[in-house]
């Protein structure tokens, strides 16, 4: 009855932006991550 689904570890958006040198600006433009945003909404 056990069904196994393989998962692939991929580069996160953070790693991808960091590699392209875009992360610093991105974090400045989007100061809140989702967890903060959700707490604000709630």
């Amino acid at each position: 009855c056990l069904v196994m689904i393989p998962l692939t570890k991929v580069k996160s958006v953070r790693e991808s932006l960091r590699e392209k040198g875009l992360l610093k600006n991105f974090l400045k433009e989007h100061p809140y991550n989702m967890i903060q945003f959700r707490l604000m909404k709630n």
Partner: protein, 333 residues
């Protein structure tokens, strides 16, 4: 549309750090998607062909007219997240996850994705595995449908998140394969069946309490890559591990990983040490090491809560037992 569309709003999550994904298919004949299996949300959604946003055109899109089993729900949805917004509509269709088939499964189809984050994401959509109370109202979550349709004997799933290898990670449905963990599973009752939320006793460093001093709550979340906590506690941890704030991130000397101690999370009177090789992450692209901790602004949260993401889940194989509202933890192999 002639439908009087009802509006549902549902917050999404921190996409910046998602890192594990798997394949599913939707429709007849099946259309393939890569999704994040996310225990921090409860909805399934993928981009649709009606979406012209940059984030959509760079990902696979669902075409309802190519599926003989698709039905429009007649309901608009908006999914909100930290750096943007996705809007679309609800449909239902056959969803296949490996050998499992969920017929008449509700899912979201995006029509607009206003997000630079999505443009850089490798996955197409999200498959949520938290409780129904977190899902869009009126929909049945995947795990409930799989159980109802006798696809799985028990509403149980478990994650093994591999450490370094791109491959080897797995999510298993309907039971647990013992080859992925050492020793016995330790069961922890949920505080509340909404998120996968448990009580955390304390966090210690060399025997000293550095977080959650009076007990607090923690969410086990495969959709968050880091360990997230109150900013004051995280600032203290960053000070202890000599993390420096560089270009909006906390950088740690890579060689410090050999000298730093474990950080111990005590859950249900059992210690779960997280070693420095887990909470200090090396980025091979620039040979720098980054903190595996991130802080939540205290002003946004009255309670002391933590989110135990992939950093913790790579160290501990985790069983999510929805039938008995509990979580099982054991050291991963």
């Amino acid at each position: 549309s002639s439908y009087v569309r009802k509006f549902a709003s549902h917050p999404l999550r921190n996409y910046l750090d998602l890192a594990y994904m798997g394949n599913i298919s939707i429709g007849t004949p099946p259309q393939q998607f890569s999704v994040v299996f996310d225990t921090g949300s409860s909805d399934l959604w993928v981009p649709s062909i009606y979406c012209k946003s940059k984030a959509c055109v760079t990902h696979r899109s669902f075409n309802p007219s190519h599926s003989s089993t698709f039905h429009d729900w007649g309901k608009s949805i908006t999914l909100e997240y930290g750096s943007g917004e996705m809007s679309g509509f609800l449909g239902h269709d056959t969803v296949r996850i490996g050998q499992l088939t969920s017929t008449d499964q509700a899912f979201g189809l995006s029509k607009e994705e206003i997000s630079r984050t999505f443009e850089h994401a490798i996955f197409d959509g999200i498959l949520g595995l938290a409780y129904p109370s977190l899902a869009i109202k009126g929909t049945t979550i995947i795990i409930d449908n799989l159980k109802k349709q006798d696809q799985i004997s028990e509403p149980v799933f478990a994650f093994y998140l591999s450490t370094n290898k791109e491959e080897g990670s797995v999510v298993m449905f309907g039971g647990v394969d013992k080859k992925y963990y050492k020793g016995d599973l330790k069961w922890v009752p949920l505080s509340k069946p909404h998120y996968w939320q448990i009580a955390l006793d304390r966090i210690t460093w060399r025997g000293e309490v550095i977080g959650c001093p009076r007990g607090c709550q923690a969410i086990m979340d495969t959709g968050t890559s880091l360990l997230i906590g109150p900013s004051k506690a995280v600032a203290k941890i960053h000070s202890l591990i000599n993390a420096a704030y560089v270009k909006e991130e906390y950088v740690v000397p890579c060689n410090a990983r050999k000298a730093l101690p474990d950080i111990v999370f005590t859950i249900n009177n059992v210690n779960y040490p997280v070693p420095p090789r887990a909470y200090v992450q090396e980025d091979a692209s620039n040979n720098l090491c980054y903190s595996g901790f991130d802080g939540i602004m205290d002003t946004l949260s009255e309670s002391d809560s933590w989110i135990l993401g992939d950093v913790f889940l790579r160290v501990y194989f985790t069983v999510f037992d929805q039938g008995q509202n509990r979580i099982g933890l054991a050291p991963a192999v």
